[in-house]
Symmetry: C2
Amino acid sequence: MGKSINNNGKYHKKLVIGLFGFGVVGEGLYKALQQTSSLNATIKKVCIKHPGKKRNAPEELFTTDKNELLDDEEINVIVEVINESEPAFDIVSTALQNGKHVVSASKKMIAEHLPAILDLQKKTGKSFLCEAAACASIPVIRNLEEYYDNDLLHSLKAIVNGSTNFILTKMFEEDLDFKEALLLAQQLGFAESDPSLDVEGWDAVNKWTILLAHAYGNIVHPNDIVFNGIQNIQLSDAVVAKEKHYDIKLVAQAKKLLNGKVAAFVLPQFVKHDEPLSFVKNEYNGVVIESNFADKQFFYGKGAGSFPTASAVLSDISALRYNYRYEYKKLYHHDVPEISDDVYIKTYISFDDWAFIPKEKFEWIEEWHADAERKYLIGVLPFSELINNTWWKENNTSLILAPEPIIEDVEIRRIKKKSLELAGI
Amino acid sequence: MGKSINNNGKYHKKLVIGLFGFGVVGEGLYKALQQTSSLNATIKKVCIKHPGKKRNAPEELFTTDKNELLDDEEINVIVEVINESEPAFDIVSTALQNGKHVVSASKKMIAEHLPAILDLQKKTGKSFLCEAAACASIPVIRNLEEYYDNDLLHSLKAIVNGSTNFILTKMFEEDLDFKEALLLAQQLGFAESDPSLDVEGWDAVNKWTILLAHAYGNIVHPNDIVFNGIQNIQLSDAVVAKEKHYDIKLVAQAKKLLNGKVAAFVLPQFVKHDEPLSFVKNEYNGVVIESNFADKQFFYGKGAGSFPTASAVLSDISALRYNYRYEYKKLYHHDVPEISDDVYIKTYISFDDWAFIPKEKFEWIEEWHADAERKYLIGVLPFSELINNTWWKENNTSLILAPEPIIEDVEIRRIKKKSLELAGI
């Protein structure tokens, strides 16, 4: 492996890259690398699926044979930015086993195969980096790994999906209903032609799975996290939010509880205007980290797009020069907290008919409102209700969490005791 | 040096720390380390100046003899968080020469001695880390070093001083004048009893000197950067700002110009409400980075205080386990751009008397307003005027930059040519 010496007296590896995928991100990376000669990294070969397409790069760079990259001993880094999950996992595992470092942006693949990837990293001693898979240009994984590695995280709240945030922003700022806002997002390239992955929350929960591993050490399958998207949010919900001086955001969150467990979910939420996440508009992403020592921190940047995503890939490639790898300190060096199912959540729910709402499941209902077209209530539900049932996302029902939604068990008992006392019981 | 093996198969050094200073930050670090057993780091000895004081730590930990720390071979890390600049430099240079890594939070010392510190790091091969010296809890140095190392930075804008931001926030939100707001800041512990270091911009320019080295590779003495504080800002300035829907912030900024140079200064500025820096209120800090690939990024967090500062020190200590060091890539691996003196700035200036204002120095004046008590104008000045003269910060004159203050030379020529054409000349 080639080496070059820098002015600080350190040796830097020459990085020879095999790139899988030449879509928006792949081409962005190719262009970005051409502008960063200081990196001492070159793309030797690009593996693509459809050889016929016209591409802005020399023809001899491309191949459709994955083994031309995976078996090339000169290539020491595989960068994988393809769309399909299973082929991506195949590439990543073969590359690691063949002694190559890997950089990947495939959130779905990573979320679904994290245990296997961790095993491979351990077994092979090679690095697997994926900063681009969480919030694209925002260096959140690296900061969770390095900067908060010894700080107790109280909570993590984030807007991790730019498409849904763009749609919600337009519903608020231009009074568009969901379908109109989605159409606008598609026209401007902020949503896919099949938008369900974004709109129904799949993309967000995949990213959240990855961030949970770096924040608290939890290795969870995305199917085991309670989540929803924004597909049921009505223009009337936006009207209620505005009356209450709230925004609506799709918030991924995790919070350390008094009982030592972690509450984690991805759900629409009312956000107060003075909260950092309220500042996150259109296609941007944002992450708020509250910790014991550093207190409240907020990271904001573009969560998608060619160059913003490529910038994260580039930064991972750069880190490979000094053999950087995630240590998953929260997983390996700390006691990993359980994901909790025994909290309560305060939530707003709007619906077409009372028949769809199991009122008896609520601990209490604080507010309700009904007109001919749409009804809503604000009340407190056991979180287990969202785990065990699906009525809250069916029949056009729209669940939006209150600004501080998590109520701990001890708090519920205290409130109940107090109200019994007030009632003289 | 002791070693422990982690689950990823890597060896970690045991860190034995000699701590200089046990004030707000030193004690914060001591407490924080007690809560982070995972770090495998212990404080062996603390050097203090005044042995008599009561301290919340065992008496045998303390000494007044610096050589007890600097000559102790078991101590491999010196953490220096004292207030005085020259003794701090003495400690840092001796520690590096004695083969110890150093973590420092002394912004003034670092800003004034950066060339010598760089030489020492190169000569000794030891690490000198100082994340706490820039924006305390915000990991801005580390991100500039690692994350933006290969990305072209268009600009960097930051609020780096919590005291002045607190005072400005109170002037805006509670209509206090400067002196009342300063008194409140002092009462709440957000400003020193001698507040001049903060209020007159010295603290901000010291931090900016450090960040410039990591952002663009410029090694500049703080005396060579144009700066001012907020001491001349009037309540009437806040009234004008509000009318124009602006905030006033003390903004440290640097921008890459079309001619390849960098404009850099620390001055009060009007900030639009939809700009990230407008979100930074009270004692918080914020940094906006605009770059070629990652686009616009915003980092926000506490810029001062015991635990937020200690969290940055802790993170540096943690990084020493894997021998992390700043590589100053922009300095050593790139062409370092000159600091420019040939731009123009658009600025608001309020004053008591026209006699204090050299009107002939302005390229043009766009707006002016006068009443019996206070007058103001908005116009364009050559930046060299701020370098070569001081009228703009004397005689109670208040200079506040426009939201997009930097106008390049070519732009000025274009505008002038156009106005001559319009005049038919």
